[in-house]
C-alpha cells in the first residue's frame, strides 16, 4: 500500500515537474512500449476508430476517414500511404506545439508515443483510398506551379520542391511527405503557416525559408499543381482509383466515400457538423469551442484555458525556435 502511494506520488511529481505527461495515457491501452515493440497497424486501427473500448471520444476517422482520404477543407489532409515515420513525427509535433492546431494538439497529447506509432503505421499501411478529384484551376496556374515544383525559382532563392519531395511529389520516405495528390487547400494552408512563421517542425527551417520567399500566388499555384498530379500511375479503369479521382472522362465519379461532394475545386470551408469534433474536457463548457483551425491568415490565439483536459499540463516546448527537430516532443523518461 505504501509502495503504491509512493509510486503514485512519483508519477504525479513527474507530471508536474516535467512535461512528460505523454507517459500517462488516459486510455486503457498500455502506456509503456513493450520490449522489442513494433508499430502495430491493427492496434492503430482501434485507436483511429475511437479506442478499443471507445474510450477515446474522438476517432481519427471522424475527420480523416477510415481510409485516410481526408477532405479538401484544408484542415484534414490525405493520410493514406504517407510514410509512417512522417505521420508519427507529425503527431509528435502537434503534441509539442511545433505544429499549431487547436484540433490536433489536444488529440495528439492524449496519445502515447507507442500509440502514435500504431496510428501512423495504420494509415501508412492503407494503399487504396480514392484520390480527390482534380482541382479546378487555370492551366496557366498549374503550369506555373509545375515549374516551381520542378526547378524552383532560383531568383527568389526557392529550390525545386521535387528535389526533396520526389518527382511529381511522390515523397521520399521516411522524412519527406508526398505532395502529389494532396489537397490543395491543405498544402496552401501549411505553406501559409510557414510563411507567417506559425509552423515549425521542418528540418533546418528549410520550409519556412522557402515559404517566406514565395508569394501567396506562387504558393497557391504550386499547391494546385500538386493537387492535380498523382504520386503513382493511376489507371482510370482501376476501381480503387476511379471514384472521384479517375482522370479518364469515361469514368465519372458517382460516389466518393469519405468526401464531401462539394470538395471539388478551390478553397472551401465547409461548416463542420456541430459536435463532430469534441475536445476532451470541453463538452460541459457552454457553447462548443471553435472546432476548426481557420484555414488561412487568421492570427494565432492562445489556447483557451479549458481546452486541455485537467490531467494534462500545458505544452512546454523547451527547444529554441528555429532549430532542427527530429523528434517532435520532449523525450519521455525511459523506464
Amino acid at each position: 500500500m505504501i509502495r503504491a502511494v509512493q509510486i503514485g506520488a512519483a508519477a504525479t511529481a513527474a507530471i508536474v515537474i516535467t512535461s512528460a505527461a505523454l507517459s500517462q495515457s488516459p486510455l486503457g491501452l498500455s502506456d509503456q512500449r513493450e520490449p522489442n515493440h513494433e508499430a502495430d497497424p491493427n492496434r492503430g486501427r482501434f485507436i483511429t476508430i475511437g479506442g478499443m473500448f471507445a474510450e477515446q471520444r474522438i476517432g481519427c476517422v471522424q475527420c480523416h476517414g477510415v481510409d485516410g482520404a481526408g477532405n479538401s477543407s484544408g484542415a484534414f489532409p490525405r493520410l493514406t500511404d504517407q510514410a509512417g515515420w512522417y505521420l508519427y513525427k507529425s503527431l509528435r509535433d502537434y503534441a509539442s506545439g511545433l505544429r499549431p492546431s487547436y484540433i490536433m494538439a489536444p488529440i495528439a497529447r492524449t496519445l502515447t508515443p507507442q500509440q502514435m506509432e500504431d496510428v501512423a503505421a495504420y494509415y501508412a499501411s492503407i494503399k487504396d483510398a480514392p484520390y480527390p478529384a482534380e482541382p479546378r484551376a487555370d492551366v496557366q496556374v498549374r503550369q506555373i506551379g509545375g515549374a516551381i515544383a520542378a526547378i524552383g525559382m532560383p531568383s527568389q532563392g526557392v529550390p525545386a520542391c521535387d528535389g526533396c519531395h520526389g518527382p511529381n511529389g511522390v515523397g521520399q520516405a521516411p522524412i519527406y511527405p508526398y505532395l502529389g495528390g494532396q489537397f490543395a487547400p491543405y498544402l496552401q494552408h501549411q505553406l501559409m503557416l510557414w510563411k507567417q512563421g506559425r509552423r515549425d517542425g521542418d528540418p533546418m527551417n528549410i520550409m519556412e525559408l522557402i515559404a517566406k520567399a514565395m508569394t501567396e500566388e506562387q504558393i497557391r499555384a504550386v499547391s494546385l499543381y500538386y493537387a492535380s498530379v498523382r504520386p503513382k500511375d493511376v489507371i482510370p479503369q482501376d476501381a480503387r482509383y476511379a471514384p472521384g479521382g479517375g482522370r479518364s472522362p469515361a469514368v465519372q465519379p458517382t460516389h466518393s466515400p469519405g468526401q464531401n461532394p462539394t470538395d471539388v475545386g478551390a478553397v472551401q470551408r465547409p461548416e463542420p457538423g456541430r459536435g463532430s469534433v469534441v475536445v476532451p474536457g470541453t463538452e460541459p463548457a457552454g457553447p462548443p469551442a471553435p472546432t476548426m483551425e481557420p484555414p488561412l491568415g487568421l492570427p494565432r490565439r492562445p489556447l483557451p484555458p479549458n481546452s486541455l483536459p485537467p490531467y494534462l499540463s500545458p505544452p512546454v516546448d523547451e527547444r529554441p525556435r528555429g532549430t532542427t527537430t527530429t523528434t517532435g516532443a520532449p523525450t519521455r523518461s525511459q523506464p
Binding site: G157, P159, G163, N205, T324
Partner: protein, 589 residues
C-alpha cells in the same frame, strides 16, 4: 590559319573554381577577362535538378561531369623505364569538365593545412635534423607561410560558407574542434553538420583511446547563409548525392552558387564554353605569354590574344599544358634537373571497415559529402616522427558520404564476389557497417613526375601527358604506421568483424581513390626547383600564372580545396595590388 579574336586583358584556361575566383576579382578590377572552358555550361537550374540528377549510373559510373578521355587523356606507368599506356577510362581520379569543374561535383570536405606543411623542409630539418630523411624525399618549402595565407583561408571559407567547429582561434584551443589545426582568426561562418551515427561510434571509440574527435569542416552548408558577395546558400538536406553530382539544393558550395553569378553579371567577364585550349602562345624574345590557342565548338582553331594568361585547369593539366607549349625546362628524372612536371604527388589512402552485423542501424543513405567525424592526432604536425623514419601523416575519419545502391555495398573479406552469397551479405551488412578512412599525405619522389608521352596523341594531334607514379617508400611507412592506429580504433568500435585495407601494392590507376592530384608546376623560392614563385607567377614568363593544386610542392594529409581557394585569392590580391600596377616579376630570383 587560326581565327584571331579581339585581344583581352586576361585569358583564363579553364572555367572551374580558381577561374571563377580570378574572373570575378579581375573583372571587378577593370580587366577584360575570358575564361576558356573545355566543357559546357552547368547551372543549378536546370542542370542539377532531380530526379535526373540522382542518376548514379550516368554521373557516378559513366562520369558525366568528368573529363572525356576519348578527346584527351594521359598515359600512365609506375616506374621510369616502363611503357606508359593511355588511361582509356577514368578510374583513380576524376578531373572535372564543364563550368564549375571539379568544384561542381566535389564532396565539400574543406580542410586547412597545418602551418608545418608550408615550411615542411625547414621544419623537418629544424625538428629532426638534416639527416632525418633520405635525399629521395624531395620535400620543399612553399615560399609562403600559414600566417600569410590565413586571411585568404578565412575569406575563402566565408565565400563558401564552410560549416565546422573551430579548434584553435588565435591560439586558444576550442572544445569540440580540431586542436591540431593552425590558429584561425575567426570561427567558421557556419556551425558544423549534424553528426551521423557512424561518426558517433567512431568518435566514441577514438575518445576512449585518448584521441580528439571533431566534425569534419564541410562545404555542405548547414544553415541559410549569405556569403560576402550576397549569394544565398541553402541548408544541406543530407541526401547523399554530393560526389560526383551537382547539388540541386543550392547547398553545396560551388562556383555556380557562390561566385560565378557575380562574375557573369560583370560586363568585363566572359565564360566561353566548349573551348579546348591546346597551348599557351609566347614570345621567345620578350619572354611573355601572348595568348592561348584553343579549338572552339565548331572545331576551328582560334587564337585569343591576352596580356595575361592564367592556367586554371585541373592539377595535372596545367604542367602538361606548359610542357606542350614548351614553357620552362621539362623535368628529367635521369638527371633530376628541370622543373616543369617535377614533384607530382597524390594522396595516400587506406581504409578499414567495422561490421556490426545488424547490431547497429547506420542508415548510410542519410549522408552528405563532408558528413564525417575525424581525428587529426596523426597529421604531420600532431605527433613526433622521431625514430619512425618517415615524414607526413594524415587524418582518420568516419565519413558517411552516401548509401547509393551501386556504390555502397560493404561486405566482409571472404564474401563471394557475386551471386546469392554476395547478395545475402550485402543485405546483411548494408545498414550496419561503418567505414573508416585514412587520408594521408603524399611526399614527392624524383621518379614521380609528369612528362610528355613519346607515343600517344590526343584528338587534336598533340602528345598526351605522361604520368609516372608509385607510392614512395616514405609514404608506405607512413601509411603502415597510421593504418595500425586506425585499426586500433576500428577494434575499439566493437563490431562483430572488421577488415583493414593496407597499402601493400603498387599504385593502380584503375580503382577510384581520390581526385587530389597535386604538383607538377610547384611554387617555391628557387627557380631551379620550382615553376612559379610565391605569388603563383611563372619564373619564366612574368605574365603567366598557375593556379590550383598543381603548385603544391608536396601534398598534405588533407583535402586540397581550401588551400587551392586561399591561394587563388592570395594570387588575385598580388595581381591586383602589385602586378597590374607594374607588370613584371614580383619576385626577383
Amino acid at each position: 590559319m587560326a581565327v584571331r579574336m579581339k585581344p583581352v586583358d586576361v585569358a583564363l584556361v579553364g572555367g572551374g573554381l580558381t577561374a571563377a575566383i580570378l574572373g570575378k576579382e579581375l573583372a571587378e578590377a577593370g580587366q577584360t577577362v575570358v575564361a576558356l572552358e573545355r566543357g559546357g555550361m552547368r547551372q543549378t537550374v536546370p542542370d542539377f535538378q532531380s530526379p535526373t540528377m540522382h542518376d548514379e549510373l550516368k554521373y557516378d559510373i559513366r562520369h558525366a561531369y568528368a573529363q572525356d578521355v576519348s578527346v584527351q587523356t594521359i598515359t600512365f606507368r609506375n616506374f621510369v623505364g616502363q611503357q606508359a599506356l593511355p588511361m582509356r577510362q577514368l578510374g583513380s581520379f576524376l578531373p572535372g569538365e564543364g563550368v564549375g569543374g571539379g568544384a561542381t561535383h566535389w564532396n565539400g570536405q574543406t580542410w586547412r593545412f597545418q602551418p608545418e606543411w608550408f615550411v615542411l623542409k625547414s621544419w623537418v630539418e629544424q625538428r629532426y635534423g638534416r639527416g632525418f630523411l633520405d635525399e629521395d624525399v624531395t620535400i620543399q618549402d612553399w615560399g609562403i607561410t600559414y600566417e600569410e595565407l590565413e586571411p585568404y583561408y578565412t575569406f575563402f571559407e566565408k565565400v563558401m560558407g564552410i560549416s565546422g567547429a573551430p579548434g584553435n582561434i588565435k591560439g586558444q584551443i576550442q572544445v569540440g574542434g580540431n586542436p591540431f589545426e593552425g590558429p584561425r582568426s575567426e570561427p567558421y561562418p557556419n556551425p558544423p553538420m549534424k553528426q551521423s551515427h557512424s561518426g558517433f561510434l567512431f568518435g566514441q571509440a577514438a575518445a576512449q583511446l585518448g584521441y580528439r574527435p571533431f566534425p569534419v569542416p564541410s562545404a555542405n552548408v548547414t544553415r541559410h547563409y549569405t556569403n560576402p558577395f550576397g549569394a544565398e546558400i541553402k541548408p544541406c538536406m543530407y541526401c547523399g548525392f554530393c560526389d560526383p553530382f551537382g547539388c540541386e539544393h543550392f547547398a553545396k558550395a560551388s562556383p555556380q552558387v557562390c561566385i560565378l553569378p557575380f562574375a557573369m553579371a560583370n560586363k568585363n567577364f566572359e565564360m566561353r564554353t566548349h573551348s579546348y585550349v591546346l597551348r599557351v602562345e609566347w614570345d621567345r624574345q620578350a619572354k611573355v605569354a601572348t595568348g592561348v590557342t584553343y579549338v572552339d565548338a565548331q572545331g576551328q582553331e582560334v587564337f585569343q590574344p591576352a596580356s595575361m594568361v592564367v592556367l586554371c585547369a585541373f592539377a595535372h593539366h596545367n604542367p602538361i599544358l606548359m610542357l606542350q607549349s614548351r614553357i620552362g625546362q621539362p623535368y628529367d628524372p635521369a638527371t633530376r634537373t628541370g622543373t616543369v612536371g617535377r614533384n607530382y604527388t597524390y594522396q595516400t589512402m587506406t581504409g578499414a571497415e567495422v561490421f556490426y552485423d545488424g547490431e547497429k542501424r547506420i542508415n548510410p543513405f542519410m549522408a552528405a559529402g563532408a558528413l564525417g567525424t575525424a581525428i587529426d592526432d596523426f597529421n604531420n604536425g600532431s605527433f613526433d616522427h622521431s625514430g619512425l623514419g618517415f615524414i607526413g601523416g594524415g587524418y582518420i575519419a568516419a565519413y558517411q558520404t552516401t548509401g547509393r545502391p551501386i556504390y555502397h555495398h560493404p561486405v566482409p573479406e571472404g564474401t563471394p564476389r557475386w551471386g546469392l552469397g554476395w547478395k545475402q551479405a550485402v543485405r546483411r551488412h548494408y545498414n550496419s557497417t561503418v567505414g573508416l578512412g585514412f587520408h594521408g599525405s603524399s611526399s614527392p619522389h624524383p621518379n614521380n613526375y609528369l612528362g610528355v608521352d613519346p607515343t600517344y596523341t590526343d584528338a587534336f594531334g598533340q602528345p598526351l601527358g605522361m604520368l609516372t607514379y608509385d607510392f614512395p617508400y616514405n609514404d608506405r611507412l607512413m601509411a603502415r604506421y597510421v593504418t595500425e592506429k586506425m585499426a586500433g580504433i576500428a577494434q575499439a568500435m566493437g563490431g562483430k568483424q572488421m577488415s583493414v585495407g593496407w597499402l601493400d601494392d603498387h599504385y593502380s590507376i584503375v580503382p577510384y581513390q581520390t581526385t587530389h592530384n597535386t604538383g607538377g608546376a610547384i611554387m617555391g623560392t628557387d627557380p631551379k626547383t620550382s615553376v612559379v614563385n610565391r605569388y603563383l607567377q611563372s619564373w619564366d614568363l612574368h605574365n603567366l600564372w598557375v593556379m590550383g593544386s598543381s603548385v603544391f610542392p608536396q601534398n598534405a594529409g588533407y583535402n586540397p580545396t581550401d588551400t587551392v581557394g586561399a591561394l587563388a585569392y592570395w594570387a588575385a590580391d598580388a595581381m591586383i595590388k602589385q602586378y597590374l600596377k607594374n607588370p613584371g616579376p614580383l619576385v626577383q630570383p
